[in-house]
Symmetry: C2
Subunit: 453 residues, 2 copies
C-alpha cells in the first residue's frame, strides 16, 4: 500500500491567520471566529473529509515590528485580535467523533501544574483526541504583556522547555497508576491512594510537589506537536515531537530538514518514522485548472501586502516599512526570528531580495505560494512533496472560509482516495492510535515513557 | 410583583462536590464528569428549568489535612480528581441559548494578560453569558504544586487581588474603545488603531505593558462572583462583586452577613441591590413530604462521613482524625481556613462540638443540611430564606445526579412559578442584562467603570 497522506487543517482563533486580507472577501466568514457555530461547522466539514486533525495556532502579543507599531497588524487583523484556542476544542469535540485537535500553548506562561490539568481535561473530554503544539514564544510584545522587558534568550527558552517537559510527563505518566482509579461503587472506593504518587521536582526553573489533579486520560500525554526549525529547535523536536510542522518553498530544502530531524530522532533511540512531518501548504482548487486560476485571481484581489509585510516583519525582526521598493534587504540572524524556517529560504538568497520581489512572491497575502489547479494537479503536487521531501502530510492554511475547506473536501479528498493514498474511513481509537496505528500510550523509546511510575 | 427568585446550580468538574458519597448511589452519574454529553445534558435540563446559571467551583490542590494525607479524599473522590472547569463551558454554551456560566478561577496562578483573554474568549463564545468567581485560593497543597512552600498570607492575597482586578479591568474596559472594531470590508479596515490603547501598569505585584488581545466582547468584564466571608473578603466583595455566595445554617446569621455586605457596598458608592446574594442549599424533593423523606433515607445510605470529614478538615484546618467521638473540638482561627463562612457557625458554638455531633449533622455527606419535602414545603423554606435572610436566590448543590436536578425542575420550579416568584421565560440579552435587567456593561458606580478609556 502506498504511504497514506495525513491532513491537518491549519487555523487560529482570529480573523487573519496566514493569507492576509482574505477576510475582506465578500464570501469569507472568518469574522465569525467569535461564534461557536462557525467552528463546529468547520470541524464537521473536516470530519466529513476525513482530516486527521484541526491544528490551532496561537500567539501571545501583537506584531509591532513593521513601522515600529502594531497599527498595520490591527488594520489588517493580522493575528490580532486573537482569542484563546483551547476554548474552541470542547464544542468541536462535542459535535464530532474522530477529528483530532492540535492546540498551540506557550509553556513560558503556563505553570506546569495547572497546564497539565488543562490538557488532561481536554484529553478526557475529547476521548483522547487532543494534541499539544509545544511553543516557547518569540514575541517581545508578549513578554511585555507578561511583565518582562523582553523574551528570554532563544536557547535558554529551550532549556526551560526541556525541564518543563520532564515535569508535565511526570504529572501525566507518573502520578496515577493505571490501576489507581477503582470506580468501585460496591466497596465505595473511588481511587486507591497507594497507587497515586506525589510528583516531587525541584529543578532550575520549576518546583513542584503535588499529585496530578486529573485521573488518567485516554492518551495521558497529549500527542506532541512541534515546529522548531533552529538547530536547538530540531534537537528538541527529535527528542519529544510526534508530529512536526515544517515550512519551505523548495522540496529539496525541506527534504534536508526532514532528514536531519529523522536522523536526530534515531540518535535519540527513536524510530525515525515515529515522527510525522506536516508541511505547510495553501491550496486553491476548482474542477479545472482554468477555473482554479480564475478563483486565485478573484481571491488575490483581496490579498493584503501591508498585512503580509506586518506579519513577515515580526517573523524575521526586520522593519520592512523602512525599505524602498528596490533597495536590497539585509537579512540578519535575529533573536526575535521565528524558529520555524520562515526566514531560511529568504536568507539563503542573501542580498538579492527587494521589497518589490518579496511582494510579488506574496501571492495571497503571505509568503506561502498556493498550489493552484484541478484536483488532479493538486494531488500530483502533494504527492511530489511526499515523495521528494519525505513529508507525511500537509498542514493546510485557509484562504476564503469556509469555501476553501469545502472545495478541498469535495474535490481533492476523493482524488487522493482514488489514488489509494488516502483512507476511506477513520481508524478506531485515540488520535495517537489513529496517527500511528498502535497503542495509545507513547512507546518506550519516548522520554515520557521514562517518567512512568 | 414579589421579588423574583434567582437559581444557580452549583457543580464542579469532579465526582464528589459537596454531598460526599453520593457517587456510589446506583442511579448517580457523577462518575461521567469526563464526558461532554453528561454536561450538555445537565445544561439543557437547567435551561428547561429557567435556571439563571450553572456555577462551577474549582480547587487547585487536594484536601490532605485529615490524617495528614490525601488518602481519605482520594478514596471518597472528595473534589479529587478535579478537572479544569473552564473547558466545560464551550460545549454547554453551544447547546444552550440562555443559561449563564459562573466559573471559579484562582487569580493567584493565572497571569492577568492571558487570563483576561481567556475570559474575553468565553464571553464571545457564550454571547455574553460568562461570569467569573474571583478566588485567591486557600490550600497549601496547591501552593506546593505551584512551587511555593505555602499559601501567601490571607490578607496579602486580597491586596494582590485588588491590584489584579485593576489590571484586568483595564484590559477588558480600557484597551479597545467601542468604536475600535470597524469590520469594514469595503475599506479593508478591520480595526482602528487610534482607538486601541496600550495598558501600562507597573504595580507592586503585576507589570503589564500591552494591548488586550481580544476585541470587545458582549459584557467586556464578566459578571463578577465572589464568596469571601472574612472581614477582608467582605470588603472585597462589597467593592467588586455582582453576585455573592454565602453559606450558613441559620437565617439570622446569614441576614447579618448580607446586611453588612450591602452596607459596605453602599459605603463604596454602589446600590446595595447591585449585589445579588445566593445562599448555598441542598434540596431533596418528591411529590409528598413522606416520599421526600423516603428519598432522603435512600440517599443517606450512601453518604460518606469519611469524605465529609476529609473535606471539612481542610476547610477549617483541623485534623478530625485525631479526635475521639465525644472529645470537645477546639476550633481555632486558622490561616488555612476557608473564607466563605464554613467555619463561622461552628465556631460560634465553641467547645460544645464533638465529632459525634458533627457527624450527626452531616446528613448527606456535608454540613449543609438538606431542605426535604414536597414542592410546597421546599418553596415555603426557600421563600422564608429570601424574606428572613434577604438573599436573592440559591446556589443548589447536587445530591444524586441527574435526578436531583430533574426533580427540582419538574416539581419545585412550577411551584415557584405558580407563586409568582419565578420567571416564566428568560429575559433577553447577556447574563448581566438577565440578572439586573439593564444594560450589559457595569454601571458607573462599579470600579471597572473607572478603567474605561
Amino acid at each position: 500500500m502506498p504511504r497514506q497522506i495525513r491532513l491537518n487543517a491549519f487555523d487560529m482563533n482570529c480573523v487573519g491567520h496566514i493569507q492576509h486580507g482574505m477576510w475582506a472577501h465578500p464570501r469569507d466568514r472568518s469574522m465569525h471566529y467569535t461564534d461557536l457555530d462557525h467552528w463546529v461547522s468547520l470541524a464537521q466539514t473536516l470530519e466529513r473529509g476525513l482530516f486527521d486533525g484541526l491544528f490551532l495556532a496561537d500567539i501571545l502579543g501583537v506584531y509591532d515590528v513593521f513601522d515600529g507599531q502594531p497599527d498595520a497588524s490591527l488594520r489588517n487583523a493580522v493575528q490580532i485580535p486573537v482569542n484563546d484556542p483551547l476554548l474552541l476544542v470542547p464544542a468541536m469535540a462535542y459535535a464530532t467523533q474522530n477529528l483530532g485537535f492540535g492546540v498551540t500553548c506557550n509553556l513560558t506562561y503556563e505553570p506546569p501544574y495547572t497546564f497539565a490539568r488543562r490538557m488532561s481535561t481536554l484529553d478526557h473530554l475529547t476521548k483522547g483526541r487532543i494534541g499539544w503544539n509545544v511553543v516557547t514564544g518569540y514575541l517581545d510584545s508578549a513578554a511585555r504583556g507578561m511583565g518582562l522587558a523582553q523574551q528570554p534568550e532563544h536557547d535558554s527558552r529551550y532549556d526551560v522547555a526541556e525541564e518543563y517537559m520532564q515535569v508535565v510527563y511526570r504529572l501525566w505518566e507518573g502520578s496515577w497508576e493505571d490501576a489507581a482509579p477503582l470506580h468501585d461503587r460496591e466497596r465505595r472506593l473511588y481511587a486507591d491512594p497507594a497507587r497515586i504518587h506525589r510528583v516531587k521536582h525541584e529543578g532550575r526553573h520549576y518546583k513542584v510537589d503535588a499529585i496530578h489533579l486529573s485521573e488518567p486520560s485516554p492518551q495521558r500525554t497529549p500527542v506532541l506537536y512541534q515546529a522548531g526549525a533552529s538547530a536547538r529547535g530540531r534537537e528538541f523536536a527529535a527528542a519529544h515531537a510526534e508530529c512536526i510542522f515544517v515550512n519551505g518553498q523548495f522540496r529539496h530544502n525541506v527534504r534536508d530538514i526532514v532528514a536531519d530531524i529523522r536522523a536526530q530522532a534515531k540518535t535519540c533511540g527513536r524510530d525515525p518514522h515515529d515522527i510525522k512531518v506536516f508541511v505547510g501548504a495553501t491550496v486553491v482548487v476548482a474542477p479545472t485548472d482554468a477555473e482554479a486560476q480564475d478563483k486565485l485571481a478573484e481571491y488575490r484581489a483581496y490579498a493584503s501586502s501591508e498585512g503580509a509585510l506586518a506579519h513577515y516583519s515580526a517573523s524575521v525582526g526586520i522593519d520592512f516599512s523602512r525599505y524602498g521598493p528596490d533597495e536590497p534587504i539585509r537579512f540578519v540572524s535575529n533573536n526575535a526570528m521565528r524558529s520555524n524556517l520562515e526566514a531560511i529560504t529568504v536568507r539563503s538568497r542573501g542580498s538579492e531580495w527587494t521589497l518589490r520581489k518579496l511582494m510579488q512572491m506574496m501571492v495571497l497575502g503571505s509568503r506561502q505560494a498556493p498550489i493552484v489547479g484541478s484536483p488532479s494537479h493538486v494531488a500530483d503536487e502533494m504527492l511530489a512533496w511526499m515523495d521528494e521531501a519525505d513529508v507525511d502530510g500537509f498542514n493546510l492554511s485557509r484562504t476564503v472560509v469556509p469555501e476553501c475547506v469545502e472545495d478541498f473536501v469535495a474535490l481533492v479528498v476523493p482524488e487522493l482516495q482514488s489514488r489509494g493514498v488516502m483512507k476511506q474511513a477513520y481508524a478506531p481509537g485515540t488520535l495517537r492510535e489513529k496517527l500511528f496505528g498502535r497503542a495509545g500510550r507513547l512507546p518506550p523509546s519516548h522520554p515520557a515513557a521514562r517518567c512512568r511510575w
